[in-house]
């Protein structure tokens, strides 16, 4: 390699006539009514953030009503029940419908541009995740209008939320609605992981990746491992409420504390799920604002990864007052100390970056400084509540309310508003107003501290959380009035930002690099992102090569047009970002939106116990999904294309290198996390109530265990053979493949049905005790893998019949195969746990 090689651009200019027009045509956004079919990240991403902000405003209005109620003692503005609904909805909407979706949306919007990709790898999945969230979230919020909202607090502890104490449908709304939105979050996370690891610009090694991309990668990894715990928890509680399976009822071997374990195993990582991307935004904004590179990039990346892991060792610190042994609490207190290290190191790295350059006080910089102030204080009070003895005093008081708002508003809302001001010119035709921005910042900063700082004291003075009012003798009147005034000042600041956004934000040819930033999202871009995909050699490519923007726009880098005539992007290797193939991407379609509406309707109708209608909606969703997949992977016109500079890449990839293989593998990690949460629940309830577990002599329900296991193994071998047949592809014996697939699918399904029949015929009923309920849950979880394997299996056979599945283009089958083998493995584990475990422990 010589220096001239390094400087040579892959393509010559001027580019052939019509190349840019073809690129623009294939990436154009549908107009009019069909705009709803758009799947491009710069459209969906903006819708996504706008929706998240709408939910932010909604939940903020609820908070304003609560603050009005609490402003004076003995107030009767809202009734206790309405207050409980307001409080529950405020927390739930802020956490599940604003904070997590907002950062996920920021990832969808920013990542492709920042990484030099044309779009995220599964645009229709992004569209589905967005529509599912928007439709489901809107219906969830509307429950408040009918007084049907959940009222058990945002963390929904049973027994308060069990059917005996919350008999209305509010709790079901929460369980089904939130469970469903978590599924949408996982879909988005898969998209983001594959996008970050596989669609970076050539040369953007993992050590040159923008910090925001790192944070989104870790964010998505945490979603994959943490969110299944809440999905399992909502599933169990809903099974208990709807069918009486006793997971949380102590009379029948359940334990309400199991909910707290599962909820916080999700809930604590979730705080960092929200905070990490916000920290990533700060690490992008500060270098621009100071016009100097980030100091200690390497240490920051280490800190981010460490946070991702350590945050999984904190969940019991929400349970310090539940009577667990002191030593257990000690472990979690120690891990809580550990997680504050990486957050602290980032604060000092940002300070170092500020000192490294000359800070320009634009609005984004102000919001970042506000974030530094508020978040540091929130972190310090976090260390305080992580000290077990302190928590004994502060638990469930307003001190905790103050702490969590310092962390969440300071750690997420301020960086998000900085990001809104910072990145608007990268997507909108106009930038936001600096003067209004500064006014908004000061209102928000002063209002926030006025509202929440005093709450530390209100809490130490003994005011408990979640009370709808308090007596004037308690002396909490004045501090509460101060909080209320602060909250309204904060709201005024938010209103100014929203006003300016509505006035100025217009999707179109973006305003451009107004901050002289150094990263790729500031390249001139359209729907197709940058015109050509640059080679990356530095952390801040726009600073190190001032001609980069011009060369990219002239099409002098890779893939200056459309090589196959379809939408496409370059797929690179995960660490070194070496180009591997050109991926053909889907066109806009109605299918993702219809599938999302069907899925949302399915869950909502289930809430109202309208099972027939729900199944109908579910069927529509499945059909729409099949339709969505049907025209993916068109037969490429060329096996290989030249993307510039003589670099020829294949246009199709199957096997472990392909993006679809990666996506399914990540989905299976989430399924594994779900299963591990289940195993945890099983073992936990066993330690709580070993008495309801049968003795070895009683394990009569195990009669079919061996047969089930044998069927699963046969099915597994059959599928492996099918995979092999597809590879060698005998044209003369085409019937072998479908026969093998159908046979294996049948063996798997029969094994599962037999398993359930075995329990039932032995007289085991899921309602008798927690052991029986857990036994049936094992089959249910396996069914959640078998069902999609069946649907996609049949779909692959249809593609095979159409001639769209062969030894090369075999992704649909590979997907089935991975799901299928996972279902087999889970089935075998189930036999071990459900039949084997009682033998071992007795």
């Amino acid at each position: 390699m010589t220096n001239t090689d390094l400087l040579k651009l892959p393509n010559s200019a001027p580019r052939p006539a019509g190349e840019l027009e073809a690129l623009e045509r294939i990436w154009s956004t549908p107009t009019g009514f069909r705009r709803l079919t758009a799947i491009n990240n710069n459209i969906i991403g903006v819708y996504y953030i706008a929706t998240a902000l709408a939910f932010f405003v909604f939940a903020g209005v609820l908070a304003a009503i609560m603050r009005a109620q609490l402003a004076v003692p003995d107030n009767t503005l809202v009734s206790p029940d309405v207050y409980n609904q307001l409080m529950t909805m405020h927390g739930t909407v802020m956490m599940f419908l604003f904070a997590v979706p907002a950062v996920e949306a920021a990832g969808v919007l920013l990542l492709p541009q920042m990484l030099g990709a044309r779009d995220l790898p599964f645009p229709r999945l992004s569209a589905y995740a967005f529509w599912a969230y928007a439709i489901g979230g809107t219906i969830f919020c509307s429950s408040l209008l009918f007084g049907l909202s959940p009222a058990g607090g945002w963390f929904m502890y049973p027994p308060l939320t069990s059917s005996s104490f919350s008999s209305g449908i509010g709790a079901d709304f929460w369980l089904l609605g939130i469970g469903f939105i978590e599924i949408s979050a996982i879909a988005g996370a898969i998209e983001i992981i594959v996008g970050v690891l596989r669609t970076r610009a050539p040369g953007m090694t993992i050590g040159k990746m923008p910090v925001f991309a790192w944070t989104m990668l870790i964010f998505a990894g945490m979603v994959i491992f943490a969110f299944p715990a809440i999905i399992l928890a909502t599933l169990l509680l809903e099974l208990e409420r709807a069918f009486g399976w006793p997971f949380f009822i102590s009379d029948r071997g359940g334990d309400p504390l199991l909910w707290q374990h599962l909820f916080w195993f999700f809930g604590h990582p979730e705080v960092y799920v929200i905070f990490l991307p916000a920290a990533g935004m700060v690490s992008m904004i500060l270098p621009s604002m100071t016009q100097s590179p980030l100091v200690a990039y390497n240490i920051i990346v280490v800190a981010l990864i460490a946070t991702g892991f350590f945050s999984f060792g904190l969940w019991v610190h929400h349970m310090f007052t539940t009577g667990l042994p002191n030593l257990s609490l000690g472990f979690f207190s120690a891990a809580s100390m550990a997680v504050s290290l990486p957050s602290g190191v980032q604060v000092f790295a940002w300070i170092a970056t500020i000192a490294n350059g000359k800070l320009r006080f634009h609005t984004p910089a102000l919001f970042v400084l506000g974030f530094l102030f508020i978040f540091t204080l929130g972190g310090l009070t976090g260390v305080m509540v992580a000290m077990v003895p302190f928590d004994w005093q502060a638990h469930d008081t307003y001190f905790v309310v103050a702490h969590l708002h310092y962390v969440l508003i300071g750690g997420m809302v301020f960086p998000l508003f900085a990001a809104i001001y910072y990145w608007t010119p990268a997507f909108s035709r106009k930038a936001l107003d600096e003067r209004l921005g500064k006014i908004a910042f000061w209102l928000m900063f002063i209002g926030f501290n006025l509202a929440f700082f005093i709450m530390h004291l209100t809490g130490l003075w003994g005011m408990p959380r979640r009370v709808y009012t308090y007596k004037s003798e308690m002396g909490w009147g004045l501090p509460n009035l101060v909080s209320t005034i602060g909250a309204y000042i904060f709201a005024a600041g938010v209103a100014i930002v929203l006003f300016d956004l509505i006035r100025k934000f217009r999707i179109g040819y973006p305003r451009g690099n107004v901050w002289s930033a150094g990263t790729l999202e500031w390249l001139p871009n359209g729907n197709y992102s940058a015109r050509s995909v640059p080679i990356i050699r530095h952390h801040n490519p726009l600073w190190s090569d001032p001609a980069l923007s011009r060369h990219v726009e002239e099409g002098r880098y890779y893939l200056p047009g459309t090589a196959t005539g379809y939408r496409e992007t370059i797929v690179t290797s995960p660490v070194e970002a070496v180009p591997q193939y050109v991926m053909i991407m889907p066109q806009p379609s109605w299918a993702p939106m219809i599938a999302a509406a069907g899925t949302a309707a399915f869950f909502i109708l289930l809430t109202f116990k309208l099972v027939g209608l729900a199944l109908f909606a579910g069927a529509i969703a499945v059909i729409a999904m099949i339709r969505w997949g049907w025209d993916l992977e068109p037969k490429p016109p060329f096996a290989e294309v030249d993307i510039g500079g003589g670099l020829r890449l294949p246009t199709y990839m199957s096997g472990p290198r392909s993006h679809s293989w990666w996506a399914v593998s990540i989905l299976l990690l989430a399924a594994a996390a779900l299963y591990l949460s289940y195993v945890f629940s099983y073992l936990y309830l066993w330690t709580v109530a070993p008495g309801v577990w049968p003795s070895a002599a009683d394990v009569s329900y195990g009669s079919f265990a061996a047969l089930c296991a044998a069927l699963f193994i046969v099915a597994s071998v059959g599928m492996l053979l099918a995979s092999h047949t597809l590879r060698i592809a005998h044209r003369s014996r085409q019937w072998i493949f479908p026969v093998l697939v159908i046979g294996s699918l049948a063996a798997l399904s029969v094994g599962l049905v037999l398993e359930v029949y075995g329990h039932w015929s032995a007289g085991l009923r899921p309602t008798i005790n927690s052991f029986a309920a857990l036994t049936y849950t094992a089959s249910l979880l396996q069914g959640m893998l078998v069902a999609p394997a069946l649907v996609i299996g049949v779909y692959s056979l249809a593609r095979y019949a159409r001639g769209d599945l062969d030894s090369n283009r075999r992704a649909a089958f590979d997907v089935t195969h991975l799901l299928f083998q996972a279902a087999v493995v889970e089935g075998l584990f189930n036999q071990l746990l459900v039949y084997g475990f009682p033998h071992v422990v007795r």
Partner: protein, 127 residues
């Protein structure tokens, strides 16, 4: 408490009273700043120590930000280095947190006896 930081609850209550003149005897009953047992007294000392530490660190951070923006060349050069980040972000908190963790664990070992008779929390209507 040996550290000389001992702030009597009465002082805290007076401070609160000075700011929020509507305080009455009643709210002291369930205030964490009004320890009514030996265990609560020990935790109150922890609260005082941690509050003082938190204030000091918060001021340090604000001071460093100001030095980073407006400081002279020498200060800013010193702050803008990986060595500074490592010293302030890794070594300093490790030392502080180790000490704090041990303090907290020792308090836990000494246990928490119940509140003294006659100091029950005021009843709250939480429906």
């Amino acid at each position: 408490m040996a550290l000389g930081l001992r702030l009597d609850w009465r002082v805290a209550a007076l401070l609160g009273f000075a700011v929020f003149g509507n305080a009455t005897e009643a709210w002291c009953n369930q205030s964490a700043l009004h320890p009514a047992s030996d265990a609560a007294e020990r935790i109150f000392n922890l609260i005082v120590v941690m509050t003082a530490g938190a204030v000091a660190i918060q001021l340090l951070v604000i001071g460093l930000v100001i030095a980073g923006v407006y400081g002279n060349w020498r200060w800013r050069h010193r702050i803008a280095s990986v060595r500074f980040v490592f010293a302030m972000g890794v070594i300093f908190p490790t030392v502080i947190l180790t000490a704090l963790l041990v303090y907290g664990l020792l308090l836990m070992r000494d246990g928490h006896s119940g509140a003294l008779p006659g100091h029950d929390a005021a009843p709250m209507d939480t429906t």
